[in-house]
Subunit: 315 residues, 2 copies
């Protein structure tokens, strides 16, 4: 959730969901994605960098995102399958967390992964090469000005990109241009409003709501998951099918208690504490109780729920 950067910058890593590592970026914002609320940024530096990314760049954040990527790969990607010979555009690849999964699951497909950041692409390239995949080409590109002919790709893929955009429908339209007729687009997004737990408390809900409010101030939409279907339909894609991917966690699933509930979701919420308090979105006492209540819901008698949404549509 970086702010003050162009769409691919703002969609860049680290993301609230599947990115494995994050670094500041250095490109200017695209006009349609200009940020309205720089005061919500954690850092007060140049708005053309992504140092204002709401979740920050701490070691704990990097660890959180790595936990998340590993935990969720099967849930989100088991059915991301492209026929051998397909040409696939991955938009906003960041440091390649999804790229590695796409390449591994689709060894016969040719994947073009683009991002606005040269630095990120270097990391992505190293990651994918280290994993032994030879079917990925990396290119620098701006989502709203893609350096590809019309109808170039058989399929388009993007994950945790739309949540950061003020006008996600415009991004989908830009991607539609480079997709051949009959090709598919796949978009995966989270939805922070889908979270709940047991025991349920008002304070925990208010702490999570801070994330939603902060992302809104940055021009994004933390509730974009539930909106995927109308977004795809409005962009003119056809046969859109959206499927929820719910993460349900109870004490019988200790890997998810650690990898998702604690190290992904609660860590993400905790990461915006200072911003939420300084903006007066919540008072310190409510915040602390909310976080404590969330941890309580990871205990033996607790449960934890969150839903991602995956949409596939055809041009």
């Amino acid at each position: 959730m970086p702010c003050g950067a162009d769409p691919l910058v703002r969609a860049g890593r680290p993301r609230p969901a599947l990115r494995s590592q994050g670094r500041p970026r250095t490109r200017a914002p695209a006009p349609q994605e200009q940020v309205d609320a720089p005061l919500t940024c954690r850092y007060t530096g140049d708005l053309t960098t992504a140092a204002q990314y709401v979740h920050g760049y701490s070691a704990r954040e990097a660890e959180r995102l790595a936990d998340q990527a590993g935990t969720l790969a099967g849930l989100l990607h088991h059915d991301t399958v492209y026929p051998p010979g397909s040409l696939v555009l991955e938009c906003g690849c960041g440091t390649g967390a999804q790229t590695e999964i796409l390449a591994s699951r689709n060894p016969g497909a040719r994947i073009v992964s683009v991002d606005i950041s040269e630095e990120s692409l270097e990391q992505a390239r190293a990651r994918v090469e280290a994993a032994g995949h030879r079917n990925v080409e990396f290119r620098t590109a701006n989502l709203f000005d893609l350096p590809f002919d019309d109808d170039r790709f058989d399929h388009v893929f993007l994950c945790f990109v739309l949540e950061h955009l003020k006008v996600p429908a415009a991004a989908l339209q830009a991607l539609k241009r480079v997709l051949r007729r009959g090709g598919t687009i796949t978009a995966i997004e989270g939805d922070h409003g889908s979270w709940y737990c047991h025991p349920h408390t008002e304070e925990a809900s208010r702490a999570v709501q801070c994330l939603v409010d902060l992302q809104a101030r940055l021009g994004g939409d933390a509730l974009v998951g539930r909106r995927l279907y109308p977004l795809l339909a409005q962009a003119g894609f056809r046969d859109a099918r959206v499927s929820p991917r719910m993460v349900y966690v109870d004490n019988s699933r200790p890997d998810l208690v650690e990898g998702f509930s604690k190290n992904t979701f609660i860590a993400m919420v905790e990461g915006v504490r200072d911003q939420a308090l300084s903006l007066g979105l919540i008072d310190a006492r409510t915040w602390e109780k909310g976080i404590a209540d969330m941890y309580r819901a990871t205990g033996p008698d607790g449960t934890f729920c969150y839903t991602f949404f995956k949409g596939v549509a055809a041009r």
Copy 2:
């Protein structure tokens, strides 16, 4: 959501979830399920009847429940499979909406379906016989005083029962007694706190919250779905596995728009309008906007989400 009745009465039809028809009941309340808040009841009659069922008994309510049963059967029951020769107890069968599904999907199993209401059992018997099933025996029984020996059944099944109980763990323990070692219990419950929609509005959330508040005043728990795992574990069952069953509705699924969003869920919320207003849980203007917003979310650009939970555990 009847009030002032014993557990099976209170768990009786019509229910907020899968019941197909509802009638008042006439049995006295069990001590442990005595209701604290009779003022929340729609009717002011004898508390020993179920006429206080929060959703009422109108023709529209009967239609709502029928829509719901048909719409959700596959989602909730596709994996309710018992081996031929199994002896299965269905607890709180009401008028037999689930019984018919169980009998149909498990022709080799012998099913004993119990309810506290003779009148309901008559309807259930007629329904199951009309469907041509011969593998069901109906008996009058109180959940907390079951007329069966210890270890009698191979499997136990209950659906939309626990949500109405003040002490659901006690019900599970009563059922455990009649289940043989190694046998399974299957419990299905909804969770009104899992609902959300797009476009999201505060008023719509507040209208739904009225349902949660009313059920709490009646001694029940509209958020029991997320609580299934700890309930089963606390009752001493082992190997509990809970799976969420999410109903996701967008404009590509017109059957769910009508059968679930409008005719099941919104209709259920609308059914508590008078109680919610008379108790001051919400003001009329907020209520009307909330309902209008929910209908808007059933339109071409809207989406609608609700999650049921299904738990299976072994004795």
